[in-house]
């Protein structure tokens, strides 16, 4: 194959390239960032959006899905943002701090930065940080990601985000909600870097409110978990928006640290939730959970690479998927164990429940192992609802609809409960019920 052969651009690719030319001058960043943006756009120009011939996107053809590329959203007004925030109910009245990123830009006026400062957390505007001469590492790519197309799109267009730094030993008392707000005026492209210093702990709630019109959301969360630190990141993606919703988590985990995450997808039509987890210190643990629900023509893609580059680390991956109508679920998970990463313990499980005849599930749980003294296992199941269980419940007088709800809830709750963040369990389970109720 001739690599230099120019590809024929789709409408979306043409739009994105045009968008870049139009936005280039206004996007934040120093000269070095401009260089990174240029090479990311060249990648899109040369290779196009990721498509099914790219192994990592075999089941999630972004090139075929994205029909157009809307312009980037302009700045939002405070009133618009307040109205959307008042209307959203991500976690009800859960006591939490809030950081707001509206139309891709950090909004200090509606964020709890001063209160967080009291807890040892500094909050900085990501777009300002990008103008430093040494800002390149703010856009660093995980080694396991290769030339990922979604990350390239993010680098090319990133508008802003936040930098959170939790100081050494600080245990932040309340969860911090990082909420993305869209006012319906275009694409949101953000990147945030969250550094949790030695021995500190932080709980993050990543939520999304409002909508983006015809534009995509592309959000990257880059977690740096220092030695002995603890992070729990809960990502809630709900709603019915049509444009592509692309999320990336990068986690770099030090020694004796813990990183937990839950990617919760309820309903929007095209979601790619990808995570790149890297161990850099020994005796650490990563627990990655996923709950996906999709219906209609929706696509829910959970993609994950856990890189055990050092010995003595444990990882647990547990993913649940429920599909209805003609929805498609995708799980691609890979555990890498580097040579000499002895005593690795990796356990991966993916389970899918298909509620309709036409739903589709693709599971691809991979193991790539180069060390001998390890215990790694993976499991994958897919099937329909167990009629015996349904019969059992109905025989006890529970109406069919309710019995089905109970069974789906029980199926998904396994992952939510094992995730074990009590603050959010109730809220997420309510989401599952809402999703099921919305069917009728």
């Amino acid at each position: 194959m001739n690599a230099s052969l120019p590809i024929k651009h789709t409408q979306a690719e043409t739009d994105l390239i045009d968008r870049f030319d139009a936005a280039k001058a206004h996007l934040p960043g120093s000269q070095v960032i401009v260089g990174l943006r240029d090479s990311a756009v060249s990648q899109i120009r040369d290779k196009g959006l990721p498509h099914r011939r790219v192994e990592e996107y075999k089941y999630t053809d972004l090139r075929a899905y994205m029909k157009s590329g809307a312009p980037l959203a302009g700045p939002a007004t405070l009133d618009e943002v307040r109205a959307i925030l008042d209307a959203q109910d991500s976690y009800g009245d859960l006591d939490r701090y809030r950081i707001v990123i509206a139309n891709g830009r950090f909004m200090a006026d509606v964020s709890d930065a001063p209160a967080l400062a009291g807890e040892g957390v500094t909050v900085t505007d990501f777009s300002e940080a990008l103008s430093a001469e040494t800002a390149a590492d703010l856009l660093a790519q995980p080694t396991t990601a290769g030339l990922d197309g979604v990350l390239a799109l993010n680098t090319a267009f990133v508008q802003g985000g936040v930098l959170l730094v939790v100081k050494e030993g600080a245990a932040v008392s309340k969860p911090v909600e990082v909420v993305h707000v869209g006012t319906g005026s275009g694409a949101l492209v953000t990147r945030s870097k969250i550094t949790v210093s030695k021995g500190a702990s932080l709980r993050v709630l990543e939520t999304f409110a409002g909508d983006t019109g015809n534009g995509e959301i592309n959000a990257v969360f880059d977690y740096h978990v220092a030695d002995g630190a603890k992070v729990a990141a809960t990502r809630l993606i709900a709603g019915d928006a049509d444009p592509a919703r692309l999320f990336t988590t990068i986690a770099t985990i030090g020694a004796e640290a813990e990183f937990k995450s839950l990617g919760f997808i309820a309903g929007p039509s095209f979601v790619r939730n990808q995570q790149f987890v890297n161990f850099t210190g020994e005796h650490s643990e990563a627990k990655i959970y996923g709950v996906s629900m999709a219906r209609g023509e929706g696509v829910a893609d959970q993609t994950l690479i856990v890189d055990h580059a050092v010995p003595h680390c444990n990882s647990r991956e547990f993913f649940k998927t429920v599909l209805d109508d003609r929805a498609r679920g995708v799980y691609q998970g890979r555990i890498n164990v580097a040579p000499h990463a002895q005593k690795t313990d990796g356990e991966m499980m993916t389970q899918a429940l298909l509620l309709s005849e036409e739903a589709e599930m693709a599971n691809k749980p991979e193991l790539e192992i180069f060390a001998d003294d390890v215990i790694c296992a993976h499991g994958a199941t897919s099937g329909q609802m167990d009629e015996d269980l349904l019969f059992y419940l109905r025989a006890r007088g529970i109406p069919e609809d309710e019995a089905r709800t109970l069974l789906v809830l029980a199926f998904l709750s396994e992952a939510i409960e094992e995730y074990g963040e009590d603050d959010v369990t109730e809220g997420l389970e309510a989401r599952v019920r809402d999703w099921l109720a919305a069917k009728n």
Binding site: L355, K364, P365, A371, I375, C376, A377, A380, Q384
Partner: protein, 490 residues
């Protein structure tokens, strides 16, 4: 402590060049023109007196092949193959086909003897115990030299002959089924095979016949620089049964030898085919030099209702193994099975697995794969299980386990599980581990030596698959695994 130190030392101490079957038989052989061209294909086809349609079929494949790019997705690496440096025709020089074993070149017979297939003995055995008879279609380089038991099989109506012969005697059958499971342009190496396949076995089991004996082909790659392109076609007509054994050994050579075979199985209504392979080609010397490239396309089509195809393989040889024996479960209630042991040592690279494609209703499949990697080898299981829209009530159970011996080897699992039908029920599980200290401790406590303990544990690890092999092969398979891991397992 990673793996038992002693085990590691022993694995290191194993010279993979202890290859038992490394010898060259000096028989005059006739070679066709070097290089891959229309001329070569015509020469080959003419040499075999093939009908015109077959020559065209080959030429068409060659044209397609020229337009294809070599696939690079497998986890194997090797220097680029120069297809123009290969010979596409080699046959032992003999003017006429031998009438009996006496007429066969004694050196050839001696070769087989070294390999442990005493053909002469087979004839004697013939009258004794019909149940244990094995019919051997011996393939020495490219041409079937001797076929035993033909007469007996004929009585049952079974056709068991070389593909070249089948092309002459049963052209309609060949024309109907050849390329119907593995299409000409299926993949790079299958297309190459379609263009230049030299010979292979043809089996046809008529309706309602249970093949009276197990059929077997021993492949032998002998002539230097000879790519072997075997083509096997097995058709089990309605309600029939056949068990086919394939075993391979090759002499030691410095140059890499290419083997790109195609095996097609067709099972019609209620028919069953059991295909077993023990593969022990030269894996390369201790520096990883030489060794066979084994790029094989094997596929079975459960075309009829209630049909069944079962693949069992023991892979211990070859420098590179790249094969995915698959089942297309087209007929309702059909069943596919795949049992595999893949042992890699030294610098061997294995990328193998299976595909179970559920198309019909109530189809079921079962995959048991056991990979053992040692030395500096790489062992990958790559498999696909898919249920299409109409495959209601499809069932699959997959288990793939890997065992690692030593720090320098790799074991990978790449399963694709695609369900497009809600009533399809798929279960997949995979584990990777070393021999656990607990297991060792338990065995040692009971007075076993470390050697014996490892042997016991490895045998237990592969037991599920060994049990699926026909008796003759089970013994050979166990022996081969021992040779492959010599020093670390007893």
């Amino acid at each position: 402590m990673p793996a038992v130190q002693e085990t590691i030392d022993q694995v290191k101490a194993i010279d993979v060049d202890q290859y038992k079957y490394g010898f060259v038989t000096d028989i005059e052989s006739e070679k066709g023109a070097k290089g891959l061209s229309e001329e070569t294909v015509r020469f080959l086809s003419a040499k075999k007196n093939e009908p015109e349609w077959m020559t065209e079929w080959r030429l068409d494949a060659l044209r397609r092949f020229k337009q294809m790019a070599e696939p690079d997705w497998a986890r194997v690496s090797y220097p680029k193959i120069d297809f123009d440096a290969l010979y596409y025709w080699a046959s032992p020089k003999s003017v006429e086909g031998p009438k009996s074993l006496d007429e066969v070149d004694p050196e050839l017979l001696a070769t087989y003897e070294k390999l442990g297939i005493p053909l002469a003995e087979q004839e004697i055995l013939a009258g004794v115990e019909p149940k244990n008879r094995v019919a051997v279609d011996a393939v020495f380089d490219s041409v079937s030299v001797v076929t035993t038991f033909k007469e007996e099989l004929k009585k049952a109506g079974v056709i068991f002959c070389s593909i070249s012969e089948a092309l002459r005697e049963y052209p309609d059958l060949v024309k109907k089924y050849l390329g119907s499971v593995v299409p000409v342009t299926d993949n790079y190496y299958a297309t190459l095979n379609s263009a230049v396949f030299s010979d292979g076995s043809f089996v046809y089991i008529p309706e309602g016949v249970r093949c009276p004996m197990e059929l077997s082909t021993y492949f032998r790659i002998n002539e230097q620089n000879t790519g072997q392109f075997e083509r096997t076609l097995i058709i089990a007509d309605k309600g029939s049964y056949v068990s086919y054994l394939e075993g391979c050994t090759a002499p030691q050579r410095d140059e890499n030898q290419l083997h790109a075979a195609v095996v097609e199985l067709v099972a019609l209504d209620d028919a069953e085919i059991k295909y077993s392979t023990v593969q022990n080609w030269f894996p390369g010397d201790k520096e990883g030099k030489g060794g066979i490239y084994n790029f094989v396309t094997k596929r079975g089509d459960c075309r009829g209702k209630n049909s069944k195809i079962s693949w069992t393989q023991v892979e211990t040889g070859s420098a590179i193994t790249w094969k995915y024996p698959s089942c297309i479960l087209r007929g309702d209630n059909s069943r596919g099975e795949f049992y595999s042991i893949a042992v890699s040592n030294g610098f061997q690279q294995i990328d193998s697995g299976t595909k179970m494609i559920h198309l019909g209703k109530n189809t079921s499949s079962r995959i048991i794969s056991k990979g053992i990697s040692a030395g500096k080898s790489s062992n990958t299981y790559r498999g696909l299980v898919s249920a299409h829209r109409k495959a209601s009530q499809a069932r699959n159970f997959t288990q793939c386990d890997s065992l690692l011996i030593g720090q320098d080897c790799g074991a990978h699992t790449v399963p694709y599980i695609e369900s497009k039908n809600a009533s399809a029920q798929f279960e997949h599980e995979a584990t990777t581990s070393k021999i656990s200290d607990d297991q060792m401790f338990y065995c040692l406590q009971r007075g076993l030596s470390e050697e014996e303990a490892v042997a016991l544990i490895v045998n237990g690890f592969v037991k599920d698959v060994i049990q699926q092999l026909p008796m003759e092969f089970a013994v050979e398979a166990q022996k081969l695994i021992s040779i492959s891991l010599e020093g670390s397992v007893g």
